[in-house]
Symmetry: C2
């Protein structure tokens, strides 16, 4: 009996026309039946936003040869929810998100639409992974990220991973010759130091643009930031139980009377 083909849900946050999602489709196409459900416009920085105040649109598009693809008017998380309920009518074998144009290491996991889409699938019990390439440019050479995405997805499909498994994979800007491989990492303690650029509109009223500088305050050599700086791709296993258990224990003693 022929083995049933795996179903691979592909999504992203840069929008369905971004080169990164095309690279990801090419990377995982040899591994199963690919179905694409992705936002119809860029959704970077949308975090785990869902659309509740307005209805959503979903339209099939023919832009990837031989691949079923849908564009959605909502956020990356909306795409995953709609894919499951209205397109796949069930769970795919894996959900892959990206390849994001730009880093999603360290604290960026929290702001990233790419990772939130993957997390939404993981909450559903679908093994999931987000891929991000440190190069922002739309003309970037995706050869190495494609290779990494293929290898990680293949390994995930072949592994018996716990329900809710979610990986955050980032790929450095490095030649294939200098690339050192994949490093299992922890999320670096880093953050954005923001300043808003204050301007005035033609009517004299102030408005603000978000700008920021990334600051790593973590010296560990086991972090994703360290791995990327040392020519590794980083893989951080991510959880969505956000309970701080050590603080919980402390509070159970100190805050007894409240």
């Amino acid at each position: 009996m022929a083995k049933q083909e795996r179903v691979i849900l592909v999504t992203n946050d840069d929008g369905i026309t971004a080169p990164g999602i095309r690279a990801l489709i090419e990377a995982v196409k040899p591994l199963g039946k690919v179905v694409v459900v992705a936002p119809d416009s860029p959704q970077s920085g949308k975090g785990h936003a869902i659309t509740i105040g307005v209805p959503l649109r979903l339209n099939q598009v023919d832009i990837f040869e031989g691949i079923e693809a849908w564009q959605c008017s909502g956020t990356p998380v909306d795409c995953v929810k709609l894919a499951r309920d209205k397109i796949l009518h069930g769970k795919p074998d894996i959900c892959v998100s990206g390849i994001n144009h730009g880093a999603n290491h360290s604290i960026n996991v929290i702001y990233s639409g790419t990772m939130s889409a993957a997390m939404e699938a993981a909450i559903e019990g679908i093994p999931s992974v987000g891929f991000s390439f440190l190069e922002y440019s739309y003309d970037a050479d995706f050869s190495l990220p494609k290779k990494v995405a293929h290898e990680v997805t293949k390994r995930m499909l072949a592994s018996d991973l716990p329900a809710g498994t979610l990986f955050n994979v980032n790929i450095p800007i490095v030649s294939e010759k200098d690339y050192k491989g994949l490093k299992i990492s922890r999320q670096a303690d880093a953050k954005w130091v923001e300043e808003f650029d204050e301007r005035r509109d033609p009517h004299g009223k102030k408005y603000y643009w978000l700008t920021g500088e990334f600051k790593n305050r973590d010296n560990g050599q086991d972090t994703d930031v360290w791995a990327l700086e040392n020519n590794y791709a980083s893989l951080v296993p991510v959880q969505f139980d956000l309970t701080n258990y050590s603080l919980k224990k402390k509070l159970e003693e100190d805050w007894k009377d409240l």
Copy 2:
């Protein structure tokens, strides 16, 4: 020498005109100098979204007697970032978010704008807490939630909490007589089972409304959902290091060769 007054940043995700934020202001006003920076429109379900594609507006409003208040065109997370950079020009002593109209227990912490605002402050090292009342109605009686918010904020200001401390507090719908107190809890393993309501617009084209049913799949008596069902308010200490350390350890052995 007089003790310097504490600065309390108040925000929410239901918007600056929601009754819940007024209740929160009243609850914490006796504890320090309150500054309000909140969205100018409802931002429920916005998760940790930030605004990067359009500039932001920030306008001072006079709707809370004797309280400095600003409304912002962005998300809850934008409000916290702008408050720090452009209004407070530094960190407040605490950030309180809410009181949300509706529950943010269990997995909702990930979708909640209320909690994301508080998390953004926590990432900055500001002790932070989100308050949510299980009653959705705008006519809700906020007496008990106000009391809980006052007590928790007071205790937080008096405690020497680790940097990055973040609490998710939910308040049940219960008479003060039957209220049993605050229970330190963990995030319940629960999720939304979604179905999209499919409709057709006047032009015959399909559109979808997100609807969902909440399912708790966690039988633990130490969860936030259990606490709330048993007339306690729940307090979950929340972390933003999302590394799954136990899975990391396993992968370091099993995925050595990748």
